[in-house]
Symmetry: C2
C-alpha cells in the first residue's frame, strides 16, 4: 500500500536510506591504527577476534593449595588428607612444577596451577602439619576454585563486529584477549548551519521576536559526541542567496551536511529550493513522522545533505531516532514502562512522544507520562527521560499499556 | 545491629563516605567560566536559573492568521467570518501591530503575535477574499495555535542544581532561557596505578602466568569520561618499596588517588601496609559487598586514596556503583526486567550481579539472565547489559521476580 507522495516517505523507508548513507560515509573515513586503550568511542574498521584464550593458563581463584582432587576424596575433619607441599606458586610466575600423586602446591589467587593439579583447596580448609605437609579437612571437587584456560574466551572468538562503535567494556575484553592495536575509521567531516531570521547565538542580546539558536548546539553535540569533525557555518539568513552560499561552502568543506530549516512553510520551501538549485537529487522530502515531518535528504555532488526541522524538539527527536545510524553510538537500553496517559496516532505515521518516567518507592515498574506536545517547547521536553515510539501500523496506546521508552 | 568489624563497613556506609569525599573534591576544583555551548559534560558551580521566560513573547505555532477569537465565533463554511488583513508578521520580526476588532494579521510559524491577537487560524481554514480581506471558515478557540510567553519556562525557574554534571538537554534548555556563560568546576586531578607482579601493559608480549592490565584502562576511562585529569603511574610491582614510592608520588601529584590492589590476601595485606606506612587514616578497609570486598579507602595528607579490587569485574562493579559519586555522570535509567534465574545473597551483604538482557519480539519486558560469577572473568561480563543490585536486607530474588537493572 503506497500512501506517500513523490519523495515523501515513511519513517521506516527514511531510516533505511539513512542507514545506507551512514555505511557509505564510514567506509570513506580514514583508516588509522591506534592503541586499543585509546580506542573507546571509536568506530572499528574490520571485525576483531581474540588473539589468545582468556585466561591463557589454568588459574587459582582463591588463596590455598593446588591438589590432585583424587587425593582428597576421603578428607574430613576427623581424617584429613595429608599432602606433601611440593612448592609454591606466586602470582605472575611461570609455574614449572608438576604435581605427583600425594603432592600439593601453595598458590595465591590468580596464580598459575602446576601441571597435574585439577582443583584448589581453600586456605581455610587446610592446616600445616609441618613445613613440608599440609592437611585438608574436606574433599576438593574437580575444577573447584580454578578457572580453566579459555573459560572466559577462546582464541579466535569474535569480540566486535566491523563498523561498530567501541564501548569501554569491549575494550576491556580486547585488552584481556591480547589485542594491542586496532584499526579505526576517523576523520569523517560534517558541516552544519542553522537557518532562520529569528535566530540569535547563545548568550547574545535578544530583541523582541527573536529566539536563541538551540539547533546549532544540538547538531554539533550529536556529531562531536560521535567522533565527527564538525565545521559550523553559524546562523544563515532566510534568503535564497545566503542559503545557496552556505550550502556550497558546506558541501565543499565536508563529507556530510546537516542544517536546520525553518518551521514555517515559507522557510521549508526556501530550503528545498536551495537544495534543488545546488543540483541536489532528493533522497526524500518529507517523512511520515511526528515530530519531524519536514525532514529532507538529498545528495549534492554525491554528498548527503540533510535539512532538519527547525523546532528544537523535532530536531532532537530526529537526531535521536532517524539519524541514529550517523552517530553509531552505543544504543542505551530501551526501558519498559506502564503508560500513564493515552497516546493516539494516525495509521501510516510514526510518532515519537517525549515521556517523563516516575516510580514510587518499592515499585518495580516505571510510569511513563507523555508530555503534551506543542511545537516550540524546548525546556519542558529537556526534562523528559525519553521517547515512546508509536509505529506506523499502530493507532496508539491505551492508559496502563506497557510501552518501550527510548532513553534520550 | 553492628555486624561489621573495625573499618569493615556496609556497602551503604561506604557509599555515604564516598559521597562525602566527592563533594569535598568537587568543591576544591578550579572555578572557570565557559560558554554554555561548551559546558555539556561539565560539573556546574552554582545552581542555574532561567534568565528569561521561554518563549519571550506570544508565538504562532502554525502558518496562518492571527485573530481576535471573539471575531470568529460564528464562522462556518456557509457563513465565513471575513476579517481585514492589517499586516503580516515575519519570523524574527518585532511586531508593532495591534489588532483592532475585525482585523487579522498573516503570521508565519514561530512569528510574534500582534497585540490583541488571542488565537491563530490555520492557513488551511482561510481563503483570501481580496488583497485586503481574509475569510475564516471555522471559529478559532482561545489561545489556539499559539504558545504563550513563559509557557515553556518562567523567568527565574530552576534549570540545574549546583554540582550536577550538565547533560545536553539541560544545555539546550539553558540556551533557550538566555544563559550565555556558566561557571563550572574543572582541573580536578587523579593519579592512578595498577599493582601486581602478574600484570603486563596491553599489547606487550605475555609470558606464562602473566595477564594483561585491564584495571589501568578501566580507572583511566571512568575518570577521563567524567572530566578528571588523570596521571597514570602504570604498573607497580607487589613490593613494599615500589608501593610506597608509587603512593608518595601519586599523593603529591593529585587530589585523589585510585589504585588496583591484588586479589590475593598477600597482595591486599601489602597494599594495606603501604597505606598505613604512608600515614593513611582508614575511612574503611573492606566492604560488605560482592564483588568488591577488599575495597579500601583512606586519607593520606588529607587526600582520598582508594585501593580497589584486583579482579577487573570487581573493579568495574566498584567503579560503576560504589564510586559513582566521584564521576557524577548522568545516571542511565535503571531498567526493570523479569529475572530468568535465581539470585541468592547473604543478609548484611550487598550483591551486584551482572545480567544479560534479552527480549523476544513483541514482548514488553526484558528477561535478565544472571551471569555465573567466577572471579577472574573479564570477557563474559563485558557482554552483559548491567547489574542487578541485591541490597543488604534481601536474601536474593526468585526466578520470575521483577528486578531493576543498573545499566553498565
Amino acid at each position: 500500500m503506497e500512501i506517500y507522495g513523490k519523495n515523501f516517505v515513511s519513517w521506516e523507508e527514511a531510516r533505511r536510506i539513512v542507514e545506507g548513507l551512514a555505511a557509505g560515509l564510514f567506509r570513506s573515513g580514514r583508516r588509522q591504527t591506534v592503541p586499543v586503550t585509546e580506542a573507546a568511542g571509536q568506530i572499528i574498521d574490520g571485525a576483531v577476534t581474540a588473539r589468545m584464550a582468556v585466561p591463557g593458563f589454568v588459574r587459582a581463584t582463591v588463596d590455598g593449595y593446588a591438589v590432585r582432587v583424587g587425593d582428597t576424596v576421603a578428607a574430613s575433619d576427623s581424617c584429613p588428607a595429608v599432602l606433601r607441599v611440593a612448592g609454591q606458586v606466586a602470582v605472575g610466575e611461570d609455574c614449572q612444577l608438576t604435581l605427583a600423586p600425594g603432592q600439593a602446591a601453595k598458590v595465591a589467587t590468580g596464580a598459575m596451577l602446576p601441571a597435574g593439579a585439577d582443583g584448589v583447596a581453600m586456605e581455610e580448609d587446610c592446616w600445616l602439619v609441618d613445613v613440608h605437609n599440609v592437611a585438608l579437612v574436606r574433599p576438593v571437587n574437580l575444577r573447584e576454585n580454578l578457572i580453566q584456560a579459555g573459560e572466559d574466551c577462546r582464541e579466535g572468538e569474535a569480540l566486535a563486529a566491523d563498523g561498530c562503535r567501541l564501548g569501554w567494556r569491549t575494550v576491556a575484553a580486547m585488552i584481556a584477549a591480547g589485542i594491542g592495536e586496532i584499526a579505526v575509521r576517523t576523520g569523517m567531516r560534517a558541516a552544519i548551519f542553522s537557518t532562520g531570521d529569528e535566530l540569535v547565538p547563545a548568550g547574545r542580546p535578544l530583541f523582541a521576536g527573536q529566539v536563541y539558536d538551540v539547533n546549532g548546539f544540538l547538531l554539533r553535540r550529536f556529531l562531536t559526541e560521535a567522533g565527527w569533525e564538525v565545521e559550523s557555518l553559524g546562523i544563515i539568513a532566510d534568503c535564497p542567496h545566503s542559503l545557496a552560499g552556505a550550502l556550497e561552502r558546506a558541501v565543499a568543506l565536508a563529507d556530510l551536511v546537516l542544517f536546520s530549516g525553518g518551521s514555517s512553510v515559507g522557510s521549508c520551501d526556501l530550503s528545498a529550493a536551495a537544495v534543488e538549485r545546488a543540483g541536489g537529487e532528493w533522497l526524500f522530502n518529507g517523512v511520515a513522522v511526528r515530530p519531524g515531518r519536514p525532514t529532507m535528504a538529498a545528495r549534492i555532488n554525491g554528498k548527503p545533505v540533510f535539512c532538519l526541522p527547525g523546532h528544537p524538539l523535532a530536531m532532537a527527536v530526529t537526531l535521536r531516532t532517524l539519524l541514529q545510524p550517523l552517530f553509531r553510538r552505543d544504543e542505551p537500553l530501551t526501558v519498559p514502562a506502564k503508560l500513564d496517559g493515552r497516546l493516539t496516532s494516525e495509521v501510516g505515521r510514526d510518532d515519537f512522544v517525549p515521556v517523563r518516567l516516575t516510580a514510587e518507592q518499592m515499585e518495580v515498574d516505571w510510569r511513563a507520562t507523555p508530555l503534551p506536545i506543542k511545537s516550540g517547547l524546548v525546556v519542558r521536553p529537556a526534562q523528559t527521560a525519553g521517547l515512546v515510539h508509536v509505529p506506523a501500523a499502530a493507532t496508539g496506546y491505551e492508559r496502563g499499556e506497557r510501552v518501550w521508552v527510548i532513553p534520550w
